[in-house]
């Protein structure tokens, strides 16, 4: 059976994807630009911009001179590449083998696929129609080889189909650029007056090789099908999911536990082979009466340890209502991450992080994920901003914890207002009253002025005083604002040990 290939070229992929998100740009000229050799160059242009003569490669400033209303956005090649990858995966519905042709094409191996759509013409029309519906302008061609299909899609007539064995005939009229050659080779051909492939296709191979190198012969051979060309098909990621249908509906907790254990062992053996671990898991039980019972778990670090995961699920098994029975169990891992490879140890040391992580998972499973906090220093003077919470157990501080300023061991999350008695402005208070109790102060030190960080918020500075009352209690008080700017307010913010 002869091989057939389809090349889908999406010439406006980058701008089309932006127009999909912002439809109002469709009626306006839009270009994407990126800095190149010290100037900003247009890298992609939509239909309206092309109609005005703005093509990729133009300097953005020039293009704006031609068309002042031009909308220019920065180009983002990685996200376009990602989009192309996902489009290639989507194309798997048309053929089992799809490959990405960077930067803006997709190659399908369609051998034996077209008859399912009633022939190559309806097949091609269907695909073009589906792309157009999705908002992408596509040029599609079908040929016996990848090279010929590529050439036809990029340089042939709209939606060309080359009959089997007719490659050399259709290629003859196309320019040499259709052979996917280096710009240097193309420039040399241009200089020698080769405008069509037909002009040199009959030349002796030795002469072509001497003049233009091996690459030309390889590309010619690939277009004619005499040289092999391998595709690198996209492989969609299989979802991390395990199913367990039951012969008899399961109604007991023991039955659910056995099902869960089987599912976990299968899923965990796959995860551990791939060096990955589960961050969250869902166990679904499909009941005989059509209801779906499900339980969720989350882990603080990727885990593929079945016993540990079972322990987390086991806490929630009592919430499953089997009613008349569960006939199908599905275990899914919606969030999967690279799992740290366990290091072989000669002897077990104390302080194993895995053990701690598993303990935290157990706590999170029972009490809730949001109750666990770990803090890292942040380089801010404002006390409330000097620490930040982290969710990871492995993250270490990137700066040292500050020790230069004394901070209270207990800090109230909201400073509580107090009334004070002060001898003179800018002196520490002699006594303060908090919640109806008066504290007579014996010792004090300060003030330590902490200004608001103007790049974050505006507001009044705080003057902090460390004070000690007669009984030995030590407090952190502050005055908000300066004297002379209205009545200053005093607050109790913390306790020193």
């Amino acid at each position: 059976m002869p091989k057939r290939y389809m090349c889908i070229w999406l010439p406006l992929l980058a701008t089309d994807s932006i127009e999909k998100i912002r439809p109002e740009l469709r009626s306006r000229p839009l270009v994407l630009s990126a800095p190149q050799n010290g100037r900003t160059v247009v890298t992609a242009a939509n239909r309206r911009a092309r109609a005005e003569g703005i093509v990729p490669g133009k300097v953005l400033a020039d293009a704006k001179t031609i068309l002042p209303e031009l909308e220019a956005l920065p180009d983002d090649p990685p996200s376009t590449a990602k989009l192309l990858e996902s489009l290639a995966e989507w194309c798997l519905r048309f053929s089992p083998v799809a490959a990405v042709d960077v930067p803006d094409g997709i190659i399908l191996d369609i051998s034996g696929c077209a008859h399912l759509w009633g022939g190559e013409r309806p097949y091609l029309d269907h695909i073009v129609g589906r792309f157009a519906k999705g908002g992408y302008g596509a040029r599609v061609a079908i040929a016996d080889t990848v090279g010929a299909a590529w050439a036809l899609a990029h340089f042939g007539t709209q939606d060309a189909i080359a009959e089997s064995g007719q490659e050399s005939l259709v290629l003859e009229d196309l320019p040499p650029a259709a052979l996917r050659l280096d710009p240097a080779v193309l420039a040399r051909m241009e200089k020698l007056g080769f405008r069509r492939i037909g002009q040199f296709i009959q030349m002796p191979k030795s002469m072509l090789r001497r003049r233009f190198g091996d690459a030309l012969l390889l590309r010619l051979g690939q277009a004619h099908g005499t040289e092999p060309e391998a595709l690198e098909p996209v492989v969609p990621e299989l979802p991390y999911q395990e199913r367990l249908p039951c012969l008899e509906p399961i109604r007991t907790a023991t039955g659910i536990e056995i099902a869960l254990q089987t599912l976990l062992e299968n899923l965990c053996s796959r995860l551990s082979k791939e060096g990955r671990g589960m961050r969250s898991g869902i166990l679904k039980g499909y009941r005989v009466d059509g209801n779906i019972q499900q339980i969720h778990i989350g882990t603080s670090r990727a885990s593929h340890n079945p016993e540990h995961l079972f322990g987390l699920f086991a806490l929630k098994i009592p919430t499953i209502e089997p009613a008349l029975g569960i006939e199908l169990f599905v275990l899914e891992a919606p969030l999967v991450e690279e799992a740290p490879k366990p290091q072989e140890v000669l002897w077990e040391t104390k302080g194993g992080r895995t053990q701690v992580a598993e303990l935290l998972d157990t706590i999170a499973g029972k009490v809730g994920m949001d109750v666990i906090h770990r803090y890292l220093p942040q380089q801010h003077h404002w006390p409330e901003r000097s620490i930040r919470a982290t969710a990871s157990l492995d993250e270490v501080p990137d700066t040292e914890w500050p020790v230069d300023k004394l901070r209270p061991l207990h800090l109230l999350s909201l400073p509580e207002p107090i009334s004070v008695m002060v001898v003179l402005p800018d002196y520490p208070p002699m006594l303060f009253t908090h919640k109806g109790r008066t504290y007579k102060l014996a010792k004090a030190e300060g003030p330590e002025r902490i200004e608001q960080e103007w790049w974050i918020t505006d507001g009044r500075p705080r003057d902090y005083y460390r004070v000690e009352d007669e009984k030995g209690g030590r407090y952190w008080l502050f005055r908000s604002g300066h004297y002379g700017e209205g009545e200053p307010e005093w607050f109790l913010h913390g306790f020193f040990a």
Binding site: G351, Q355, P383, I387, V403, L411, K443, A444, E445
Partner: protein, 260 residues
């Protein structure tokens, strides 16, 4: 079985007073081991808390680790002082990047300040729950995990039965637990190895100098199993406990010249 063999031993060497004494000693030893005070602990493993002057109060002269200590604080200032003392003890327990669990309801502890007490604050995992029951559950789970250096729990009420569960958990894992009761409504006996009461006292500053001194506490060991209760005045200075002579720790009269 052991007792029986020892009793037979006593029968045989009835007349030898020295051996009798020895036997009683070894029996005491066995009871201590049963109660969780290990004698086999290597000198190397023993954490150094800098509490040498307090040593005579502890069983065998060693601060009991792998047990649950109880702290009670009636006021916010006392609670802060207790947490300061606990933090000082923790710094001796946390080593080699081990984690410590700090479970509490209504936590106001400021992690940044732990650095003053010789603890890397990122080695402490805080669990903030709403109910005392959850605190106890988390603490029990934590005490069962021997990868932790210590577990601190701040809560209000705890019953004797609940404290027994904690004691059972530490007997297996030898993790040290600190049960800090803030403003408890009832005072009852718990199955803890020791009961402490920490009160802040006026700090010392050199005569005629302004400012506030180092954290200073009156540390009262109200109850300790196989030990002698006592009372000390301790200052936390330059990352270690410093014992003060009792007279100096007692709050001095107000002195106006101490004002800044």
């Amino acid at each position: 079985m052991i007792l029986l063999s020892l009793v037979t031993n006593i029968y045989f060497f009835e007349d030898m007073e020295g051996i009798k004494k020895e036997i009683i000693e070894s029996l005491r030893e066995k009871i201590m081991i049963m109660e969780g005070f290990k004698s086999g602990m290597m000198e190397m493993e023993r954490p150094d808390f800098g509490l040498q002057e307090m040593a005579h109060a502890f069983p065998r002269g060693v601060f009991p680790t792998g047990a649950v200590h109880e702290f009670t604080s009636p006021t916010a200032a006392c609670a802060t002082a207790s947490n300061g003392f606990i933090s000082g003890l923790l710094s001796g327990l946390i080593k080699h990047g081990m984690f410590c669990l700090w479970v509490s309801t209504k936590r106001s502890l400021f992690p940044l300040a732990l650095k003053t007490y010789g603890i890397e604050p990122h080695q402490v995992i805080f669990v903030d729950v709403k109910r005392d029951k959850d605190v106890l559950w988390v603490m029990e789970q934590g005490l069962k995990c021997d990868a932790l250096a210590a577990v601190v729990a701040e809560l209000g009420e705890v019953s004797f039965a609940e404290s027994q569960r904690l004691q059972l958990a530490v007997e297996k894992s030898h993790v040290t637990g600190f049960l800090h009761r803030r403003r408890p409504r009832r005072q009852q006996a718990l199955a803890c190895v020791a009961r402490w009461r920490i009160r802040p006292v006026a700090s010392r500053v050199p005569e005629g100098m302004p400012g506030v001194g180092h954290p200073t506490w009156e540390v009262e060991l109200e109850k300790i199993r196989n030990g002698k209760p006592g009372k000390w005045y301790i200052e936390w200075r330059r990352g270690e406990f410093t014992f003060l002579p009792a007279a100096q720790g007692i709050p001095a009269a107000l002195k106006r010249e101490h004002y800044a």
